[in-house]
Structure formats: C-alpha cells, structure tokens
C-alpha cells in the first residue's frame, strides 16, 4: 500500500509542471505502470481520486497504461517479454539479463487548460 506515497510524488510533479505552464487546470493525466512495479493500478486510481481534491487536477481523469515486463539477454542480446516466470532469456535460456522495462511508474503526459488573457487595455 505505498500507492499513496507514489501519488503524493505524482502531485508534486503535476503541480510544478502546471505552474511552469501557467495552466489553470489539469484535465487529464496519463501514466505508465510497469507490470512488476509493485503498484496496483486500482489502488493507484483510488489514491489519485482521493488526492486530487483541492488541487489543479481536481477535474482530471487518470489514464493508466500497463507496461509489460521486458529484459535483454546479456549473452545473446535477445529481448524477452515473459508474462510469468521463468524470467530467463526466451531465446537462449540465460539468466544473465538486463532489465528494460516493466518496473517503473512514469507520468507520460498531461492535458492542461490555460485561461486566455482578456483583451488588452480592459
């Protein structure tokens, strides 16, 4: 249940970004969640819904894209995307691997709205 601390980090990033863009509000947030990142997308969504109240993302919808677990074999160079163990190279069977993805949680993009300034001189 560390989803809440993940979402707290997310809002730090979101608010900083929105301020930098002079955005009036954030209307959508898209994140990528690795299948072996250790967070549960449903819990992340609940934490997001609870946290967003009173922030610039109050009306935002959250889109979560699941990222498969992926690694590259250090022996043959092949890439594998296994759904379940064994987590060894699907081409040559080596366990000497370099992780490529599926462990991270990344904010990919946000959709923001900026209020247009009023006509000059008014």
């Amino acid at each position: 249940m560390h989803e809440l601390s993940i979402v707290a980090n997310m809002f730090e990033i979101l608010e900083e970004k929105a301020r930098g863009l002079n955005a009036a509000r954030i209307t959508a947030v898209k994140i990528r969640v690795g299948r072996l990142s250790g967070v549960v997308p449903d819990l992340l969504e609940s934490a997001f819904e609870a946290y967003k109240k009173g922030t610039l993302a109050e009306e935002a919808r959250l889109e979560i894209e699941a990222v498969p677990f992926a690694f590259r074999c250090r022996r043959c160079g092949g890439e594998s995307f296994p759904d379940e163990p064994p987590y060894v190279c699907t081409a040559c069977g080596s366990g000497d691997i370099e992780l490529l993805g599926g462990m991270d949680i990344v904010v990919e993009k946000i959709e923001v709205e900026t209020d247009d300034p009023g006509p000059p001189g008014t």
């Binding site: 249940m1 072996l36 250790g38 163990p85 987590y87 990344v106 709205e113």
Partner: protein, 223 residues
Amino acid sequence: MTRKDVLVLEDLLGTNKQIAAEIRRELGSRGILGVNLLSSPGSGKTTLLEGLADRLKSRHRIAVIEGDIETERDADRIRAKGVPAWQITTGGACHLEAKMVGPVLARVPADIDILFIENVGNLVCPAAFDLGESLRCVLLSAPEGDDKPAKYPQAFLTADVLILTKSDLIPYLTFDPGKAAGEALLINPRLKVFRVSALRGEGMDELASFFVNALRERRAGRA
C-alpha cells in the same frame, strides 16, 4: 481557453532513485558495504541481525539502521549486542525511502565496514524503493510457506540474496526449502541462496562469511 497535451516523462520514483544514487556513492567512497534486508513482518530479520552481530563484530565494525512503523524495540535489541543502531520510525509508511536513510547516514561512524538496513516488515512495498544498498537480501521464513516467491515476485526479482530463515522449524511444517528456492530462482536466477536458523546457528557462519567476502570484493573493486 486553450487546451493542450504536454509531454512529462517523469519517473515517479525518480527522486528516490536520485537520493539512493547519492547514498550509494557515499557508502562506496567510505568503503561501507550497504545491505538492505526485506521480508514480511516476523520472518526473523532482527534475530538474523543479532546472530550476524555475534559472528561479525569481533573482526568487523557493523552498524544497523532499523525501519519500523513504530517503536525503538528493534534498535534496542541490536544495541544490546554492542552494535550501533539507529531507529527510523516511519509513523505509518509501509516502507523505507532513500530520503529517510540519508540523514541517518551522517551519524554512521566513518570506520564502519558493513551497514545493515532492516526495512519495514512488508514483502511488497519496500521492493520498489532503492536505498542505495550494494546488496539486497530477501528473507523468507519456513512458516510463511514455499509459495511466496511466486506471489510476491518483485521482492525476489530485485534481490541479490535469498535467505531462507527458521530452518529449525522445517521438520514441523510442510515447507519445502527446495521448492521455495526453486520458485525464487525461476523469477531471478542470479539469486544466491542461504538456508539458516539464526536461533540454532545452522548456516549462519556461512552467511556471515558471505558478507565478509562481499565487503572484501567491494573494496577490491574500488581500489
């Protein structure tokens, strides 16, 4: 009103990774082997550390950072062994983060050889947070059952060492240490596996030697 999409591409654990990298550099420059211990509550992390303290402290300087949601109890147990210990009470958080460990590091004496960090008991969340350690150890105790690696893959996937604890209880349980290790090795074939009873001493000398060798290799690699 204008609406637009803005690319962000920020790792939500990016800040933690950054602080962990700083801790790793500092430990490296001070010649300290950092060890992060992960497991469910009650799988014997503190008892394992007490047993390691008995075996290591005559020839090596060890220190312990204890992570718990509440109480100083674990740090008190380690101090009773004559080993310096600092307690981090997370006040509710289910894991340690690098930013909690950083400030404690300044208080760790310069001549320490091995710094053990006992994470909050939890087989899920601590796995996502790098603390700047050089070795991550996951403990699995016999009473927990041999099916845990498959159920909690991330902890086993990110660890370097698997320590099967409470081996003295195996005769009374259905726990199959071969199956537990086998399942963990399917997730992570790079795991080095130990089977110990901290209470009775089985496998503890071997585990202590492993840490001493790891310290030696780390310092040789640095030289």
